[in-house]
Symmetry: C2
Subunit: 526 residues, 2 copies
């Protein structure tokens, strides 16, 4: 392992060196029921040594279910921490986004009480004391501590500022296993209303904060050296479906530029995670647009490709969420090429409506499904089972210049390769409403919904986005719904409430959403 | 009628006096299918003379259905204009909010294609050319035209700026039937991204624009004198239910001040329209809080009472939407008392996330209904029938410091005085999601949902907000939904999709939402 500097060189407030202890020696600070705040965002910049030591302690002493904590973190963190904690039944409340099979299991079986909020609102509400009046212990991964006690983050800023606002005690994990990220951050602890300041970002690379978060050193109870790396996600594979979706979006951008509604270098891009997002970034790397800017919440490996293509001018994000390998080694080996083109900001800036709307971001995210009127489900499969959370999708989609969602038109069920349609009569759970979305895309095509009334949207989505297997089924439903409601004068947005979820029920019983017959003979009323 | 100054004294760009003509003489400018943009917002500041002349012309010449236009207006306008136009089948597309029985009929029978968008997004998207590349004719009511051609609005600013950005031709209605509102406005035409400027409002009374909207005089094709008054709404009556809701909210505010989460003069208030909003304003007029500020989109008569109480320091709004009588006469008779404590701003400022979030507004709005997980329906009765539109409720609720919705717990059906519950298992249409709302209130009580996971929210809403007649019914549904989904590991937010709308269906068939039995024996799948 390379030498990235000693602990002493990273801890510049020398009195704190008296507080250095091992992760195991921190266990004594933790009592069941405590409210904990961690640094970290979409497995980047989260504490590892202390959470792992606590998990080891619980496992070794068979304390499963007896050491439960409430976890407030900017977003998901590495599986070796929160997911392992869930496996060991160490989590009661968890806000506001998570990743991992065990934690999802705990949430959907009712053991873990997860709350799901737009990330920008989570950040401010945490600082306001809306979730808990105080954080008992904060665990913050840092690159360094300055002589004035201020904290230099690592690969994300998350909600460090808000945690510091309400934390009683603080444990620092100083990560000497990787370079210091000093200089890459734009740190700001917002003041609460009525004293909140404008966020004067007018370009993706404008900075409004400082290189570190102010912190009261008296609150720091321990300094732990850590050499763990972020367990970043591997690449999502691209496939023909993703490539087709990316192609539609590239064509749309070209058309918008031609129509004079987008500048030639587009507008700052926000792109979610996953194979479609990767295909879009890949399309941009090969495409005709240059001098691009990114204003987003997560930077993944593909963004390095976009930098290498010479098309990307600057990227603003909440986290640098590269893969453990090959992403981070590639980044560290080419530090000078990337570092001054990236700024990492706290969630309260990266996801704030103010800069997103002012800059006029182009937001692109993948839902579970959307319905014919353009309501989208981003969080609950089947309408009840939590996957990860809404994350920042609503922050960007609500405030973007163009709000785009993209998904394959179908997914396979257990028995039918096109058994699940992602275009449904009515979304069983709604995270983004018809009032928020401009453009919906599947590999079948791109539907520009701007300016369309609900029934015109429905017809366009059936024609353009639905898979051919489902077009006649959806058309039949839509025609019946129109017929039944318009004649009664209640048909602004026609639905049939006795069968709008028949596709979902058909899937449960017959393994496919291909409803054969929309007729129904049911008296639900007794 | 008082003398409020001659047309010549209001039209200070003298070359425009050559363009003075009667409303009837403007009819020749209009061709079927044109895109029209009007000033106006929640019946205030809208053009009257020309729209009424056009309606008279259509009626007299039996041109119903042969002179249809697309109408883009900040929000609803007076019934004598848009509702009469709907009656005469003169409207094809209508964005983004409307009021009136005939226009609602046209929308819900499928003749009028209404689009419904968050008002702040409507404003910017109109300016971007997303709905139409150009407005064929703008009709703007003004107090005056300055020598430089700039336009001084009357009782609202609406989307005048965005209309001027894309208008080909402009007709001005100079209203000499009331005082000039010059000096009350904060006019700004926003630049499009990537050149958009910060909106540097840090207090409700900060101003960032000028007293008039710049306008190219060459586009003005006619100047029409008008003496019509706004047909503002009458008072909504207060009742015991509204008073009880207001009482819960006053107590909540007092508790939040005590807990240190609100300053003693609260934070800038946004309050919707209707009897509950009036009761809340009435409660504030009698209550313990002083030096209040209002940052909202509509000011109604009750706001004059709040000024008179001495409790209200300043009010920022998009419109001054007083009643034709007694509201406006009272305002005009006491001009000096109110005028310098009010600023009227364009929708692109009044409803922008940037100032709403920075100031930390307290948003209060009335939905049609909400469900046990805190999703709210604001627009479609029964899930399909449009009432008015989402208006600015989402702009404020998404960005507020505290997001509050209030409704009676029940409404009467035709056969049962408590036949309709406003707390349902699943909202049949969703405009505001669980991710957006902090506090829900009925006359039964106030549920503070901050920090609660979905199942905890559901139990609290059933216990606190539901009407006693519906508590056991909702509890039974919730218990069954939990039982069925948690055992399968899919129960983050339990629902039963074969019966989640049984209350609505029961209402249609039996005239009440009091479901007797949640059992169901249906095979929906064939």
């Amino acid at each position: 392992m390379s030498d990235y500097g000693s602990l002493a060189s990273r801890v510049r407030r020398k009195s704190l060196l008296d507080k250095v202890r091992s992760a195991e020696d921190c266990i004594e600070f933790f009592k069941p029921g405590m409210d904990l705040g961690w640094s970290g965002f979409t497995p980047a910049g989260y504490p590892k040594a202390v959470p792992i030591a606590l998990a080891d302690y619980v496992e070794k002493n068979n304390l499963q279910g007896k050491m439960k904590f409430n976890l407030f973190i900017g977003a998901s963190v590495g599986a070796e921490t929160e997911n392992r904690w869930a496996e060991l039944d160490m989590i009661d409340r968890r806000w506001p986004y998570q990743t991992g099979k065990n934690i999802a299991k705990g949430i959907n079986e009712g053991r873990i009480r997860m709350g799901d909020k737009h990330l920008s609102l989570f950040a401010q509400d945490l600082g306001y004391g809306f979730y808990t009046p105080k954080i008992d212990i904060a665990i913050i991964e840092v690159s360094a501590v300055n002589a004035d006690g201020s904290l230099v983050p690592t690969t994300s800023c998350g909600v460090i500022g808000e945690i510091l606002m309400i934390a009683d005690k603080i444990i620092l994990e100083v990560n000497t296993g990787q370079p210091s990220f000093e200089g890459m951050h734009d740190c700001l602890i917002p003041r609460n209303p009525p004293h909140r300041e404008p966020l004067l970002i007018c370009k993706a690379d404008d900075r409004i904060g400082s290189s570190a978060f102010p912190c009261d050193p008296d609150k720091i109870i321990a300094v732990v050296e850590s050499k763990y790396r972020d367990k970043g996600r591997a690449f999502a594979e691209m496939d023909d479906t993703s490539e087709a979706i990316a192609g539609h979006i590239m064509q749309f951008f070209a058309d918008e530029v031609k129509a004079g509604r987008l500048p030639e270098n587009l507008l700052p891009l926000q792109s979610g995670v996953g194979s479609i997002a990767n295909a879009v970034v890949g399309g941009l790397a090969k495409g005709p647009f240059s001098n691009l800017n990114v204003f987003t919440e997560v930077l993944q490996d593909t963004m390095l490709d976009l930098f290498d293509s010479g098309k990307l001018r600057f990227a603003s994000s909440c986290s640098l969420s590269l893969s453990e390998t090959p992403g981070f080694p590639r980044f560290f080996d080419n530090w000078d090429k990337y570092a001054d083109k990236i700024v990492l900001r706290p969630l309260s800036i990266s996801n704030a409506p103010e800069p997103i709307r002012r800059l006029g971001c182009i937001a692109m995210n993948t839902p579970v499904e959307f319905d014919i009127y353009a309501h989208a489900n981003s969080t609950l499969v089947g309408g009840t089972r939590m996957i990860n959370g809404i994350g920042g999708s609503g922050d960007f989609l609500r405030n973007a210049y163009l709000s785009i969602m993209h998904t394959p038109s179908v997914r396979p069920s257990k028995t039918d390769p096109t058994g699940i349609t992602c275009v449904v009569p009515k979304a069983p759970h709604i995270d983004h409403t018809e009032h928020d979305l401009d453009v919906l895309v599947t590999e079948q095509g791109l539907a520009d919904l701007r300016g369309l009334a609900p029934k015109d949207r429905a017809q366009k989505l059936i024609n353009v986005c639905a898979h051919p297997d489902y077009r006649p089924i959806l058309q039949d439903y839509f025609d019946r719904a129109c017929k039944e409601t318009l004649s009664k004068g209640v048909g602004h947005e026609p639905q049939l409430f006795d069968r709008c979820f028949k596709m979902q029920q058909n899937l449960a019983v017959n393994g496919t959403m291909k409803v054969k017959n929309w007729d129904i003979e049911v008296n639900l009323c007794e």
